[in-house]
C-alpha cells in the first residue's frame, strides 16, 4: 500500500470542544455531499451527463470542515474535483445537477460543465481545472479584501499535485510578502491522476515545510476527520483574519473513485493502486466516522439520523427531476457572454 495514512482512527466517543449542533451540522452537510456524489456517479453511468466529471467521494470532510468554518461572505475557489466544495459552501444543488446535464438551469447555464461551477450568492466564486489557478485567484481576492480593509477571507482548495506547479510558489510568496488574508487548503489524496507521490515528490516530503519556507504558518491534519478539519480551519482563520498572513492546511484524505468518471479503478482493471488499498481507506470513511461519532457521543439518535438522510434523498430526487426537465440552451445563445 503506497497511500499509508499518517493519522490514527479517532475514538468516536472522545471528548469534543464542538457544540453538539455543530457536530450534527457537519455530519448532515457531509452526508448531503456524499449522497449527491454517489447518486450522480450512478446517474452518470446512464451517459446523459456529457461532461468529464471528477467525483470527490471520500474527501467530503475537507470540503465541509473548511466551508462550515468560513463565513458566508468569505470566498472559495476550487479545482476539477469541485462538487464537494461547491455543495459544502452552499452552492445550489439544482445548479450543479442541471449543469452536469447541460441545461439552462445549470449554475453556468450549460457552458461550464462539471469543472466550471459557480454560485456567487454563497461565495463560491468558481472552479477551474487547470492546476494551481485556484491558488492565484484566492490570493487575488485576498488582495482585494486587504485593499478595502474588508474582514473577509479567500480560500483555495487544491490537490497535493498542485504543489508541483510553479504558480503555487509565486502566489504563496506574494501572499506572504503582503500578509494577505488567504487560506490554502491542500487536499493530499496521494495520487495525481494515476501517478503516486513516489514519482512526483522526493522521499520524506512534507508539504507544510514548503509553505513554511515562505514564512507561511502550516499544519497537517487528518482530512478524513471532519471535526479535526473544522477545528484546524477555525484556528487557521483566526490567524488569517487577525492579519497574520496566509495559512496552509494540508488535509490528508483519499479519493475512492477513478480520477475522472464514476467507476472504481479495479472495475476497469487499473493497477496503479490496489482494490485492497481503496478498501482500507473506505474503512476510514469520513461520513461513517461522523455518524458513529454522533451515535457514540449521544448527540443524535439513529432515528434522527435516518430522518435527515431521508430528507436529503428526497431533496436530491426532486432536484434530479427538475434538472432533467430543465430546457436545453438555445443554439442561438452560443455567443452569449463571450464579451
Amino acid at each position: 500500500m503506497s497511500a499509508i495514512p499518517t493519522f490514527k482512527d479517532p475514538d468516536p466517543s472522545r471528548h469534543s470542544d464542538l457544540p453538539s449542533e455543530t457536530e450534527a451540522r457537519l455530519f448532515r452537510s457531509m452526508y448531503r455531499v456524499r449522497h449527491a456524489e454517489e447518486s450522480l456517479a450512478e446517474l452518470y453511468k446512464e451517459k446523459e451527463m456529457r461532461t468529464p466529471t471528477h467525483f470527490g467521494i471520500g474527501q467530503e470532510a475537507v470540503a465541509v470542515g473548511i466551508c462550515e468554518a468560513l463565513r458566508k461572505d468569505d470566498v472559495v475557489y476550487s479545482h476539477h474535483r469541485c462538487h464537494t466544495h461547491y455543495l459544502a459552501k452552499g452552492g445550489s444543488l439544482l445548479g450543479l445537477v442541471a449543469e452536469l446535464y447541460g441545461r439552462v438551469d445549470g449554475c453556468s447555464r450549460g457552458r461550464g460543465g462539471s469543472v466550471h461551477l459557480t454560485d456567487r450568492s454563497v461565495g463560491f466564486v468558481g472552479s477551474s481545472p487547470i492546476l494551481g489557478q485556484s491558488i492565484a485567484l484566492a490570493t487575488g481576492s485576498a488582495l482585494a479584501f486587504r485593499m478595502d480593509d474588508a474582514p473577509r477571507v479567500a480560500a483555495a482548495f487544491f490537490g497535493e499535485a498542485v504543489c508541483e506547479e510553479g504558480i503555487v510558489y509565486e502566489a504563496m510568496n506574494y501572499a506572504s510578502v503582503n500578509r494577505l488574508p488567504v487560506l490554502y487548503v491542500c487536499e493530499n489524496n496521494f495520487y495525481s491522476t494515476e501517478s503516486s507521490a513516489a514519482t512526483r515528490q522526493p522521499p520524506g516530503t512534507e508539504l507544510c515545510e514548503r509553505a513554511r519556507a515562505f514564512k507561511i504558518a502550516a499544519e497537517k491534519i487528518d482530512g478524513n476527520d471532519v471535526a479535526a478539519v473544522y477545528g484546524a480551519a477555525r484556528r487557521a482563520l483566526e490567524h488569517v483574519r487577525g492579519g497574520k498572513g496566509p495559512f496552509f492546511l494540508e488535509c490528508e484524505t483519499y479519493r475512492w473513485r477513478e480520477h475522472v468518471g464514476p467507476m472504481y479503478d479495479h472495475e476497469l482493471g487499473r493497477t496503479y493502486r490496489s482494490k485492497d488499498e481503496v478498501e482500507q481507506w473506505k474503512k476510514r470513511c469520513p461520513v461513517a466516522r461522523a455518524e458513529r461519532r454522533l451515535l457514540a457521543a449521544g448527540i443524535s439518535s439513529a432515528d434522527q439520523i435516518e430522518s435527515w438522510k431521508a430528507e436529503t434523498r428526497a431533496e436530491f430526487d426532486e432536484v434530479v427531476r427538475r434538472a432533467k426537465a430543465s430546457p436545453w440552451p438555445d443554439p442561438a445563445s452560443l455567443f452569449d457572454n463571450v464579451y
Binding site: V75, Y77, G106, C107, S108, R109, G110, R111, G112, H116, T118, D119, R120, V125, G126, S128, I130, Q133, I135, A136, L137, A138, T139, G140, S141, A142, L143, A144, F145, M147, A154, G166, I167, E170, A171, N173, Y174, V177, D336, N337, V338, Y339
Partner: protein
C-alpha cells in the same frame, strides 16, 4: 490642439481613469520606479501612491491570476509587462481563465475586466526574446480584446476605453512610439474598442497597418504622394474585435491592399486581413494582396541583420509602387533615422 508624447498620452489616460474609478490599481515589475515604464506610470505613482501603484515580484502567471481574483471582487487591475515576451509566462491565466471567465460560467460569475499592458521592443539589438509582438497569438482567442494604439490620441483614448471595458483588454504598446508626438484632446474621449481609423484618406491603394507599422505607413504615404500615389492608411487599432467594415470599405474604394504588421505573416494579423479581403471583397481587388511583416526568423541582434529583419516605410512604399506598376520610380530609401538607444 495641444501636442503630447505617446508616453504622456498613456499616462494621462491612466491618471484620468484612476481619478474616476477608485477600484483601478496598477502593478507589475518596475511600475513605481522613478523611470516609471518609460514615463507612462510616473504621474500615476506620484498621484496615487503605493496603495494603488505598486511594484511586484517577477511572477507573471500568478500576478495575472491574482489580478483576475481581485477583478472578481470588483477591482480593475492594470498589469504592466515592460516587454511582450514576458507575457508568455502568463498565458495560462490570460487565455485559460481571463478570456473565458464570463463565458464558461454562463455569465453567472460576473466578468473580470483586467487590463494588461505590454510593451513591444525594437532596435538596439534587443534580440529574439525582447522584441516579439503578440497580437496575432492573443487575437486568436474569443473573450479577449486586443488593442494596439499607434498614435498618442489613441494611446490615451484606448486606455480610457480599456479601463471602462466590460471584459479583459490586452494593450500592446510599441516602445519605438513612446517618444513620438501628436495631438491629444484635453477632454477625455475614449477610442472605441473594435473600431479602426482611416488616418490618411487616399484612392489608389489601402494600407491597413498596426502599431508602429501604422506610423511607418503614414510616412510611406506622405512620400508616395510625391510620386503621385494617394495611399489610404487604415490604422487597425483593434485586433480583436476586428473592424471589418472600415477595412472592407477602404479595400472596396481602392481595389488594392497592403497589410503591414509588427508580427509574423504565418497565422498572423496580416494573413487574417488578407483572408478577410479575399472572402468579402474579392470582386473589388485589382491586384493580389501584399503582406508586410517581420522576416520569417527570430529577431536578430547585430545591426545589419536587424535592419534586414524589420520592414519599414521603405518596404511599404516600394510594395505600393510595385502593386501600381510604377517600376520606374525614383523613390529611394525613405526611412527616418532610428535614434533609439534606450532605455529599454
Amino acid at each position: 490642439m495641444r501636442t503630447l508624447k505617446y508616453s504622456e498620452a498613456l499616462s494621462e489616460g491612466i491618471v484620468r481613469a484612476m481619478e474616476r474609478d477608485p477600484n483601478i490599481y496598477m502593478t507589475g515589475i518596475a511600475v513605481d520606479y522613478p523611470s516609471g515604464i518609460f514615463g507612462s506610470t510616473v504621474e500615476a505613482t506620484r498621484r496615487f501612491g503605493p496603495k494603488r501603484v505598486f511594484d511586484s515580484p517577477a511572477m507573471e502567471n500568478a500576478l495575472t491570476g491574482i489580478a483576475i481574483g481581485a477583478a472578481a471582487m470588483g477591482k480593475r487591475p492594470i498589469i504592466v509587462h515592460p516587454r511582450n515576451d514576458f507575457m508568455f509566462l502568463a498565458f495560462d491565466m490570460m487565455i485559460n481563465l481571463a478570456a473565458k471567465w464570463k463565458y464558461m460560467y454562463g455569465g453567472n460569475a460576473g466578468s473580470v475586466p483586467i487590463v494588461v499592458r505590454a510593451v513591444i521592443g525594437k532596435g538596439w539589438g534587443q534580440g529574439a526574446s525582447h522584441s516579439q509582438s503578440l497580437q496575432s497569438v492573443l487575437g486568436h482567442f474569443p473573450g479577449l480584446a486586443v488593442v494596439m494604439p499607434a498614435f498618442p490620441r489613441d494611446a490615451k483614448g484606448l486606455m480610457l476605453a480599456a479601463l471602462t471595458h466590460h471584459s479583459p483588454v490586452i494593450m500592446l504598446e510599441h516602445r519605438t512610439l513612446y517618444d513620438t508626438t501628436g495631438e491629444v484632446p484635453e477632454t477625455d474621449e475614449p477610442t472605441p474598442i473594435g473600431k479602426a481609423a482611416v488616418v490618411r484618406p487616399g484612392r489608389d491603394i489601402s494600407i491597413v497597418a498596426t502599431s508602429f507599422m501604422a506610423y511607418e505607413a503614414l510616412h510611406a504615404a506622405e512620400q508616395l504622394a510625391k510620386e503621385g500615389v494617394e495611399a489610404e492608411v487604415v490604422d487597425a487599432r483593434s485586433i480583436r474585435p476586428l473592424d471589418e467594415g472600415t477595412i472592407l470599405s477602404s479595400v472596396r474604394k481602392t481595389g488594392r491592399l497592403i497589410v503591414a504588421d509588427t508580427s509574423w505573416e504565418l497565422c498572423g494579423f496580416s494573413s487574417e486581413v488578407a483572408a478577410l479581403a479575399a472572402e468579402k471583397a474579392f470582386d473589388a481587388l485589382k491586384a493580389p494582396v501584399r503582406r508586410i511583416a517581420m522576416a520569417n526568423s527570430p529577431a536578430p541582434v547585430s545591426q545589419p541583420l536587424e535592419k534586414a529583419f524589420y520592414p519599414s516605410a521603405t518596404t511599404i512604399a516600394k510594395a505600393a509602387l510595385s502593386m501600381l506598376g510604377k517600376f520606374s520610380s525614383s523613390l529611394g530609401d525613405i526611412d527616418r533615422e532610428d535614434n533609439f538607444k534606450g532605455p529599454y
